[in-house]
């Protein structure tokens, strides 16, 4: 009996591990035929896209959206007309391209790319999934895997596992009304989750063709490895042990295992294509600059200060936007509340205050920390600067009260 179980297990694993055929290349402007599986996924994607258009998370800045669309078109080339990009304000590293061309780029990715070439690589990677119809392949692979699992469980049932019999009857006995609750939107959800499960082979292909695609568009192919390296290193600096151990699964859907091999292979590919090309660093920074503050505030809501501090260091490398970056460094320390963090926070706020782009709040926080430390004169200067810079602030009366309670300077 044990042999038979082992045999059916092997069979199931063989099916699951069978390499999927390379995806057929799609033609630009191609639409799926009526009644096909693909059409079903397109319709589900159309629905998701309609919802995204009215989502509160949709970033509506026309300049930013036009910029990201421009980069997408530059790498999508023949598929430019098929791809519709939406920037969503979500503080996680993710970009997806649905089979109908509906593409999401999340602000967490925008914040982590350090130049246009890195964004171009992530989009090239997604365009390759789109071009090679990977979602359909992933779906078929999942279907085969599930069917194999079923065959396996049938095998167990034959061997007389009574538990399965009982749970089967319980299943049937569920009341009709109970079942209805679970059916709501099952089609939609099942469709969408299938997109996020590409196989390792699909990912490797998307990397390989993605690097080639970005290089062909004139970008420096070395950016492919640098963005994943940054993601891996950010994961390693996480506050949480569980995240650190996940080896680069910053992506909320956890579909992109970032092994050392993968980064090495991206580096090798870039080397074979030859260095050079544009990295568009200044253009990129100019495009995201208006959103830095809001996105960093979102990032702090993840409460992973180790990662946020890593991110801030990476953003500060070129010495730009230091007023904003130092302020959020201060915020990260203030919210982290470990030993010595208040001191680090005060230092960061003070550093921020030296730059013209420091948000007014930097002075309020600086004043507060100085007051706590007993530096009345320093606190007074900071609070007064805050009031001068943000006279209409909702909490101006609070700060005025703090000033009064500290008494007049002697």
């Amino acid at each position: 009996m044990r042999t038979r179980i082992a045999l059916s297990l092997t069979a199931a694993l063989a099916i699951a591990a069978a390499p999927t055929a390379a995806g057929a290349q799609r033609l630009s402007g191609e639409r799926p035929s009526a009644g096909s599986v693909e059409e079903g996924f397109w319709t589900a994607s159309d629905k998701a896209e309609r919802a995204a258009r009215t989502s509160a998370e949709l970033n509506t800045d026309p300049a930013l959206n036009a910029y990201v669309r421009g980069v997408a078109c530059k790498v999508a080339v023949e598929y430019c007309g098929d791809v519709r990009v939406y920037v969503l304000d979500r503080p996680f590293f993710n970009a997806t391209m649905a089979p109908n061309g509906y593409t999401e780029v999340w602000s967490g990715l925008m914040l982590r790319a350090s130049n246009e070439a890195e964004l171009a690589f992530t989009l090239s990677h997604e365009v390759t999934h789109f071009e090679r119809n990977h979602f359909l392949e992933a779906w078929n692979a999942e279907k085969n895997r599930q069917n194999a699992m079923l065959a396996l469980s049938v095998g167990i049932a034959v061997l007389g596992a009574t538990a399965a019999v009982n749970s089967g009857s319980a299943e049937a006995a569920r009341s009709i009304m109970d079942a209805t609750g679970n059916l709501i939107d099952v089609v939609y959800l099942a469709g969408m989750t299938a997109f996020f499960r590409f196989s390792r082979e699909n990912e490797a292909e998307a990397d390989a063709l993605g690097v080639r695609r970005m290089a062909a568009a004139g970008y420096d192919p070395r950016a492919a490895a640098t963005i994943w390296t940054a993601v891996r290193d950010e994961t390693a600096s996480s506050q949480f042990e569980r995240t650190r151990k996940s080896e680069g699964r910053l992506n909320v859907f956890a579909t992109h295992p970032l092994t050392r091999d993968r980064i090495a292979s991206l580096e090798a590919r870039a080397a074979s294509l030859g260095a050079g090309g544009d990295d568009g660093r200044a253009r990129y920074r100019a495009a995201i600059r208006p959103h830095l503050s809001a996105w960093l505030r979102d990032d702090l809501r993840r409460r992973d200060y180790g990662q946020t501090l890593f991110l801030l260091n990476r953003l500060a490398v070129g010495g730009e936007d230091l007023g904003v970056l130092e302020f959020y460094r201060g915020e990260a320390f203030r919210l982290r509340r470990q030993d010595g963090d208040l001191h680090l926070a005060e230092e960061a706020y003070a550093a921020a205050s030296a730059w013209p782009d420091a948000p007014p709040q930097a002075f309020r926080e600086l004043g507060e920390l100085r007051r706590k430390r007993g530096d009345v004169a320093g606190a007074r200067v900071a609070f007064e600067t805050y009031l001068a810079r943000a006279p209409q602030a909702e909490d101006a009366w609070l700060v005025q009260d703090s000033l009064q309670s500290m008494g007049n300077p002697t």
């Binding site: 009526a34 009644g35 599986v37 059409e39 079903g40 996924f41 397109w42 319709t43 589900a44 309609r50 258009r53 009215t54 779906w139 999942e142 279907k143 599930q146 069917n147 699992m149 079923l150 049938v154 049932a157 034959v158 399965a164 019999v165 089967g168 009857s169 299943e171 049937a172 009341s175 009709i176 009304m177 109970d178 079942a179 209805t180 609750g181 059916l183 709501i184 939107d185 099952v186 089609v187 939609y188 099942a190 469709g191």
Partner: protein
């Protein structure tokens, strides 16, 4: 052998007719709209899929489309037979602004009624049915020039041949495998008060296949059995 008969009996019992379960608003002053009331019939929101052998759901746009069109035409026929002025509208055309927000609110309220209005009833909802979109629903009344709106939602799966074969095979072993199931629900909203005056949910029987015109007719007739129109 006894087990085999039990499985066969279960098959017969499960293959019953369309089952419905309706609710009427317990807070509304009057449930039944007066004759001549203007009613807007919203294009049904239908998502159907194929249930694979192992139980995954593969969306089928062609089925969803056919069912939506069949249901829309049967709903119109059914309402035409009553004493009300009606119009039709597609909610997908108006997903922006205030109207779009209200339509999405309606979807959420419908899903909540399905989840919390029946078996998993919230303590505050036991013995009462007082769901409402709020008075803001008047914006829908203005937008659609109507007093009431009738929404129809359908979700479900049809078993693939592989699934049926699996079910038959496993039934012989005494294991019951759920086949595809389709659920539709309809709600009638008083757009002047926002109240959900009537709500009905149906589990389609095998003869009421909404992908076909006759099936949709049977299903709509079952759902509208006690509609206050």
């Amino acid at each position: 052998m006894i087990r085999l008969f039990a499985a066969a009996l279960a098959c017969v019992l499960l293959a019953g007719c369309t089952t419905t379960n309706s609710r009427v608003n317990t807070q509304a002053a009057a449930v039944r709209p007066a004759a001549g009331t203007r009613i807007v019939l919203m294009t049904p929101d239908v998502d159907l899929g194929l249930l694979t052998a192992a139980g995954m759901t593969e969306p089928r746009a062609d089925w969803s489309r056919a069912a939506r069109d069949n249901l829309a035409s049967q709903i119109e026929t059914a309402v035409k037979a009553r004493q009300h002025a009606y119009s039709t509208a597609n909610p997908d055309d108006a997903m922006t602004g205030r109207v779009g927000q209200l339509l999405r609110l309606n979807s959420t309220v419908g899903a909540s009624i399905m989840t919390f209005g029946y078996t998993n009833a919230l303590p505050t909802k036991k013995g009462s049915f007082d769901w409402t979109l709020g008075e803001g629903a008047q914006a829908l009344s203005t937008a659609y020039d109507a007093d009431y709106a009738l929404f129809f939602t359908g979700r479900g799966t049809y078993a693939s041949e592989g699934r049926v074969a699996t079910a038959v095979g496993l039934a012989l072993l005494g294991v019951s495998v759920p086949l595809g199931q389709q659920v539709v629900y309809a709600s009638l909203i008083d757009l002047r008060t926002g109240k959900v005056v009537w709500f009905n949910v149906a589990v389609a029987g095998p003869s009421d296949d909404m992908r076909k015109s006759e099936g949709a007719a049977g299903l709509v007739a079952a759902v509208f059995k006690d509609i206050p129109l």
